[in-house]
Amino acid sequence: MKILGIDIGGTFTDVYLTDDDVNEQTVHKVSTTPDDPSEGALRGVHEVCEMTDTPPGELDYVFHGTTIATNAVLKHEGVEVGMITTAGYRDIIHIGRHKRPQNYSIQQDVPWQQHPLTKRRHRMTVPERIDADGTVRTPLDEDAVAEAARALDDAGVDSIAVAFLFSYLNDEHEARAKEIIEDVSPDVYVTTSSEVYPQFREFERFTTTAMNAAIGPTVVEYIETFERELRSLGVTADLHVMQSNGGIATEEMVTERAVTLLLSGPAAGILGGKRRTDVDTPDSEATNAITLDMGGTSADIGIVADDEIVKANVRETQVGGYPVMIPMIDIETIGAGGGSIAYLDDTGAFRVGPKSAGAMPGPIAYDRGGTDPTVTDAHVALGRIRPEFFLGGEMDLLVDAPRETIRERLADPLGMDEMEAAAGVLRIVNNGMANAIRSKTVQKGRDPENFTLVAFGGAGPMHAADVARELDVSRTLIPASPGVLSAVGLSTTDLQFDQIHTTFETLSDLDRERLQSDYDALVADVEDRLHRDGVADERLDLELSADCRYEGQGYELTVPVSDGRRVRPIERIDAAFDAAHESEFGHGFDGNAVELVNERVTAYGRLPTADLVTIPEATSMVEEHVLFKDDVYFDVDGEIEAYVTPFVDRTDLRAGHSLSGPAIIAEKDSTIIVPPDFDVSVLQHGDIELTR
């Protein structure tokens, strides 16, 4: 089977071809073409097929991760959006939750007011109202809808969001409005709030709907173009696109819910991390992983607990300061990367990031004009990144300049030794990442000791051991090809479609059969969707769950409600919620009434996963592969000392090789730093394991 993964990042587009018939995987990097990202991607596909003599027509699957949706939001490059909403509520998306983003600021901007997804002049109101019990209080004024659609057409909007109150209980008005709009303006892209995500909380739902309207036409055009161009290369496999929920979508799914692509890129990385941990964990044990994807400007952290990727609470998901109410993988992004700048502020306090030198001008060591010391420069100063290995020796690396700048800017003013200052830069960055990981583990009742830290991205392998030590994580993995793990993750995913129904019901008042019939309706809906995508029943899996809270609370926790399609007895759902509350918050209230807020169904269309290729067994002593030894500085228990450290090229290592720290294992797109208190073993699929 031949699977192709394409991940478009800010600087590079990674293409990953895996062919388990011949036990081969090929990684290819091309420059991203920001004006039309599909151009670079196509070149990558073409080149990787040439390199491997693979006729494009023989590819079985093509999976794609893209930042096109995210960039459209962050750069405010969506299309002009009109909104048709309930009379009396024109400004829901402008007022928001009336909370300022910052507590202590007069001069701040409020993102949803500063860059409205739809301008007030394009927000039309029409008489209609559904009540809180789902009944129609005011019938839809159809003439008003037609008139609003014509006015928006005249105003030149390309996309219309229909957002009515309580449509999550009764979508008939929204659905009818959509029909009318499509009659009036057949070319306009129409999104209704009940289609995007039928869940309560109007500001968040309306905003998500407007965002879908803003980016939908752009995303759809991009996907259509890309698919057409793949066809012209001779590719016959369907294009599938990574979604924020960790599943993959067909072109048709994306067309309806473009907003599900917002975290397409980082989601793939977490999947890749999960896949590598899965294969390196005995079948009898659950996979628990912390994924750390650290690049030039930021680090993304994700959690896999008991074989499942942890999802974010929909109340907390946001992109670019706008709430986005759709299922997403819980990804914590912090401003810590190889390019993060270290500086002393005007009172002399030591700071690292979030300002970043990025790829341009980059760290001082890269000699592209960077003048501020960065995290990468600290590694260079400590002797850990060497010119011999930097990008396979293809690029020059300045060694003295970073060290001198760290001395001048940081060490001398603080009265520190320059190596202490360089190690201090790393300690601050590592602590920031450890704190972010703690907020997703310790604070949620998960002990990091039971987790594997999977570190990847260009900078992840340099920080993995130190972060692992700080968290008391017992095992750390540096996957094979750590620079392109997102592309790897793309080849391990399944089709996924979520559906939801909001209902406010006290569990104890619910009848099991009533609940079953609600879920049956949702199941019928998602099955229909996946059948249309050609998923056969034997490849279709369902997950039925419910968002519950103690009656009166405002935050829900999601608990499973079934084995297969049959919902469990109500008491078992109640007990499962008590247990989930206890585990998340440290206490449960067994006697209190539980309210069921949302019924959820996730359908998976299982896709085959290619076997990971294996690397040859070691037949040599690892010492034979030491290229040279030199002084490298390490921070052990607060003492910064030079250790004579062997340097090894990762491509020389074979399954079964092991060595003790200190060591530096270099490869083309990253460097693995092994401190003196860590041991290394090379696993059968080429992953490197660090333990203390």
Binding site: A132, F200, R351, E420
Partner: protein
């Protein structure tokens, strides 16, 4: 008590300086200092996360009217969570109040204690905001406090809810919790718990919320001990002191850059127009802010005397001081530019605030204080106005104050109480327009989703929109207020504690004043009735509506200097009418909606000549 009691330290000894040094920054390296500061903030975030997600009433879980902070053994704040400033600012005062009461009674902190406190004459901001104080011990020694505060829905006052404007003293506005050990040495005081529950109209919600406060405060205390174990007790203490010095130094530098002198502002607060007592009709407030070197002194002596029978008196430590500090922080160290400077005790050091006893800003016990919210936010607004004289580039024109309402009723023999906070608006700013429709100054809560309110209470939110043609005009216009209308679907009552109906927000640098707000019952009907901003438990029949109109904030700079394209955009957005554009901004639009430049020039000239 065990026989160690005789030799045990008193509360004064327990809270005496521990490991205090003049040079904390020299005793730890700058890297460790950053690392510890980051971890402290992380702990407060966890506390906030836990409290918000496990609480019951919408005022905490949706509005986020709660606070979390960690303090050192002297009740000096180390760090806080990211909720609303008015809940965090008073936390040190609460703890000082508890310490004072313990000292008076000869009590002390023991490991495992949980103290409940709400006395406005001992540091509380007002009685509905309960503090849960958990003392943090390390190696048997008191070394800090983990504290949560939250607004409770009903606190056993003589009327339902917490919006009360007719009451006579501190006993009638709340059950009094004076440094009460609700958990003593790990043992819950079930009798006290029952007593509190029995005196509250919505016991399940309120006691559930107290439970959530306790868990969050305990989690903070545990994490603080973990931090001592990880880095060493002394190191963490020095890092805390270093962070305070850091914030203090930044604020002092900014103050030092201002010219010495006294800057003043004065204004009125909506009083009780229907009252027969002339003192109650309007309330005069004045701020005299003196900059001297690196310090600021804020004198509030010119404010009116306290009102014995009206709960708009402001607790000095718990409301007035945090209001003043909030404004100094938000202007001189605006987080838009200074986001890395932590909010901690250091911010308070360069600032002194005073007011004579018996003043409305420093009342004598037992004057009632429960409705101190709007008056305190006016003190913040006037502090901003005084500062506008000396640092205009960091301020804004007058803000629109808020209205807080309590809706209540009895359905099936059970009380329901719902609290709603309307949006305010910010005045025009030196470089941009004011912010529309947000909580202002020392409040930063969140509104409740309409879909949540209507699903859980016999209420319908029938309108929620921006208010048109009411902005304070200016080169940079004031933010728009909101119109929020709520309808009763079954009979009940409403109380309102509001401001902004009598005096419009001030304009600045040639900008126009804003527009006053309003409260209207059954707007548009024959029996339409205009109501004052303070309203005590009015009965409402099913089908009756209450329209809450927020003020439009003040303008900044001459309206005729406003970019005509911005005026045009506001006209297209229906925020400003064509007539208003012409009359006030001097901008004439053509029929197709573009700016008629010649006519505009002429009109602006005419306005200038007038």
């Amino acid at each position: 008590m065990t026989d160690t009691a005789d030799t045990a330290a008193t509360v004064r000894e327990q809270t005496a300086p521990l490991l205090d040094v003049d040079d904390p920054g020299d005793r730890i390296d700058p890297v460790t200092s950053r690392v510890v500061a980051g971890s402290l903030t992380n702990i407060c975030d966890e506390m906030g996360h836990k409290l918000m997600r496990t609480s019951y009433s919408s005022i905490i879980r949706e509005s986020e009217d709660f606070g979390c902070a960690l303090l050192d053994e002297r009740a000096r704040q180390l760090c806080e969570t990211d909720s609303t400033p008015l809940q965090m600012g008073p936390i040190p005062a609460y703890v000082r109040g508890v310490i004072d009461l313990f000292a008076e009674r000869g009590q002390r902190f023991e490991p495992g204690d949980v103290v409940l406190h709400n006395d406005p004459y001992h540091g509380a901001t007002h009685a509905p905001d309960f503090a849960v104080v958990v003392p943090v011990f390390y190696e048997d020694e008191l070394t800090g406090f983990s504290v949560t505060t939250a607004h409770h829905l009903d606190v056993g006052a003589d009327k339902p809810g917490t919006c009360i404007i007719e009451t006579i003293d501190a006993y009638s506005e709340s059950i009094r919790l004076d440094a009460l050990k609700i958990v003593e040495g790990g043992e819950r005081n079930k009798t006290a718990w029952q007593l509190i529950a029995d005196n509250i109209r919505t016991p399940a919600m309120v006691m559930g919320d107290v439970e959530a406060q306790i868990s969050a405060a305990r989690a903070g205390a545990e994490r603080m001990v973990d931090l001592f174990e990880e880095h060493g007790h002394e190191t963490v203490k020095y890092a805390g002191q270093d962070a305070m010095n850091y914030s203090e130094e930044h604020l002092r530098r900014r103050i030092e850059s201002l010219p010495d002198g006294t800057y003043s502002a004065e204004g009125y607060l909506d009083g009780f127009p229907e009252s027969t007592d002339p003192d109650e009709k309007d309330v005069f407030l004045a701020v005299d802010l003196t900059v001297e070197g690196s310090s600021v002194d804020v004198d509030l002596s010119r404010c009116d005397d306290q009102l014995d029978n009206r709960p708009i008196n402001m607790p000095f430590e718990g409301t007035v001081v945090p209001a003043v500090l909030l404004v100094l922080r938000s202007t001189l160290l605006d987080t838009e530019e200074h986001d890395l400077i932590p909010q901690n005790h250091g911010i308070t050091r360069p600032v002194s605030v005073h007011a004579p006893k018996g003043s409305i800003v420093n009342p004598r016990f037992p004057a009632p204080t429960i409705a101190r919210f709007c008056p305190g936010n006016r003190i913040a607004d006037l502090t901003l106005k005084a500062l506008a004289e000396v640092v205009p580039e960091q301020t804004c024109a007058g803000t629109g104050n808020l209205k807080i309402s309590t809706f209540s009723g009895v359905t099936d023999d059970e009380y329901w109480v719902y609290m709603d906070i309307t949006s305010g608006s910010y005045g025009g700013r030196p470089g941009k327009d004011g912010i529309d429709a947000v909580d202002t100054l020392y409040a930063n809560t969140r509104n409740n989703p309409i879909e949540d309110i209507e699903s859980h209470y016999p209420l319908r939110v029938s309108t929620y929109e921006l208010r048109e043609d009411a902005e304070g005009a200016g080169r940079n216009r004031g933010g728009a207020g909101t119109i929020r209308e709520i309808e009763f679907t079954s009979p009940g009552r409403v109380s309102i504690e509001g401001d902004g109906n009598e005096y419009p927000p001030w304009g600045f640098a040639g900008g126009n004043e804003g527009t006053t707000g309003a409260i209207v019952r059954n707007a548009g009907d024959e029996n339409e009735e205009s109501l004052p901003s303070k309203l005590e438990n009015r009965p409402m029949a099913a089908g009756q509506r209450l329209r809450l109109v927020g003020p439009g904030a003040g303008g900044w700079g001459d309206p005729t200097e406003r970019d005509p394209e911005k005026v045009r955009a506001d006209v297209l957005d229906d925020l400003v009418s064509r007539e208003r554009a012409r009359e006030i901004y001097g901008v004439i639009l053509t029929d197709d909606g573009s700016v008629d430049e010649a006519a505009t020039r002429e009109r602006r000239q005419a306005l200038d000549d007038d």
